[in-house]
Amino acid sequence: MPAPIVSLQSLTSTTSFDQLLATAQSGGCASSSCGLSGKQDDMDPAIWEKVKDHPCFSEEAHHYFARMHVAVAPACNIQCNYCNRKYDCANESRPGVVSEKLTPDQALRKVITVANEVPQLSVLGIAGPGDACYDWKKTKATFEQVAREIPDIKLCISTNGLALPDHVAELAEMNVDHVTITINMVDPEVGAKIYPWIFYDQRRYAGIEAARILHERQMLGLEMLTARGILTKINSVMIPGVNDEHLIEVNEWVKERGAFLHNVMPLISDPAHGTHYGLTGQRGPNAMELKALQDRLEGGAKLMRHCRQCRADAVGLLGEDGGQEFTLDRIPGEVTYDATKREAYREVVARERHDHVAARREAIGMLKAASSGKSLLVAVATKGGGRVNDHFGHAKEFQVYEASPRGISFVGHRKIEQYCLGGWGEKATLEGIIVALEGINIVLCAKIGDCPKDQLAEAGIRAIDAYGHDYIETAISALYAAEFGVQPLAATA
């Protein structure tokens, strides 16, 4: 059986449980944070209760909790120009891609196996590989079976919205309180460039008519979910020249209709994928173009910036994909759910978070007080837990934080090829990493060798491993203080 994706020890490597508890009890936490558990200051407590363990709905939660998708819904009722339904590759990571389709019974066995092995698991999602609301019988059967065995797992679906209004009542009955709708347009003229056809009301529609129906159903579905208090995240694929400017309008529409989060994702486009966009040379945005659009959308519907565009069979913390460790041939024929690991992990996280929220508040307070007017983009190597705890050479992605007088915020991630494979690094890999780090000022990691450090320095990126295992925000505030000559914080983590 595979090892847990993040061990409990690695999460709390600098602080023992007893120390954490002692800190909490001795009033070591800032008084304003007592009674909270990592909540963002501006969030309604009832909503925080819903999102605090959901890695896709809370940036804060994604440092601690894992999701899994089960690929039980292969049938789809629309065609998107960025999707080729024949494509399937175990090495590709993007929505709609899956290696092994599952029946509801197989999915149940997989979920139990993962729940027994991965203590971070908090969410079961159905994201296709087709459409979860269209392939409804299988989605529903899977949720019902899993909810019987693991009552505390959060159920979540992702849909294009066309069939959504037909199932909102059932979703509410099954306690599905997180739904994601992919909305790429609110203007059918734009939609016609993204969707060649839809299948609706027992026939195929094309062009503007298809896009208009889809748009109306998406808005209706969103309004129905909002009316029932189901949290809705809107995913939008940013397609340069097609809907990039238009997404500002999309953001306004979905905000008005009660969307909880808006997630703007970059188009993934490659001729090898055989998609319409791939074959016609439609490009995706680069990291800085995506960030520029996201920055323009700040102030509208709240943005999700920590999406990793995972596969329809992903398993693990966001950014990690343990799906290959849990293929059907590795899952026993009979499995029984054992709650002990998940329960133990939750207790640790509850304590750890309390400490983290106090550290983060202090760090952010320092930046705001410093009022230096400067900003820094920092790329962090982390294995989870909100700490700088991964080696440069082991990282498969960096989490990007912006430090400015407004505070410290997560602004995105950069996927990279792992630098160290079998003990040595490859020059070409490092060059790729330097390209991926465009615009980044500083890399924070637990450890880095002299050779990659020097080469990064030549490219104008400083790599620093002096803050290994500190909380990310604490490390960044110390960096910021050193950089701009303001009074640093005492070490907290």
Binding site: A75, C76, N77, R85, K86, Y134, D135, Q202, R203, R204
Partner: protein
């Protein structure tokens, strides 16, 4: 008169199976198969053939 599915192009998504008004489509071995005898080409039920209208791969669900 009937439709057929070109097995080598079928993605096995199964949409045709649950859209078929005649219960003529079943998963057999590696792909979905339309039973000739049961297929009505949706005559009397719908204006267009449901399987061909929902199939995501062009020229895969076609007249036999």
């Amino acid at each position: 008169m009937a439709f057929k599915i070109i097995a080598s192009q079928c993605t096995q998504c199964g949409a045709c199976e649950f859209e078929c008004p005649s219960g003529a489509i079943k998963f057999k071995g590696e792909s979905y198969v339309i039973e000739r005898d049961k297929c009505t080409e949706c005559e009397g039920a719908f204006d267009t053939q449901q399987c061909a209208s929902v199939c995501p791969v062009p020229k895969t669900c076609v007249p036999a």
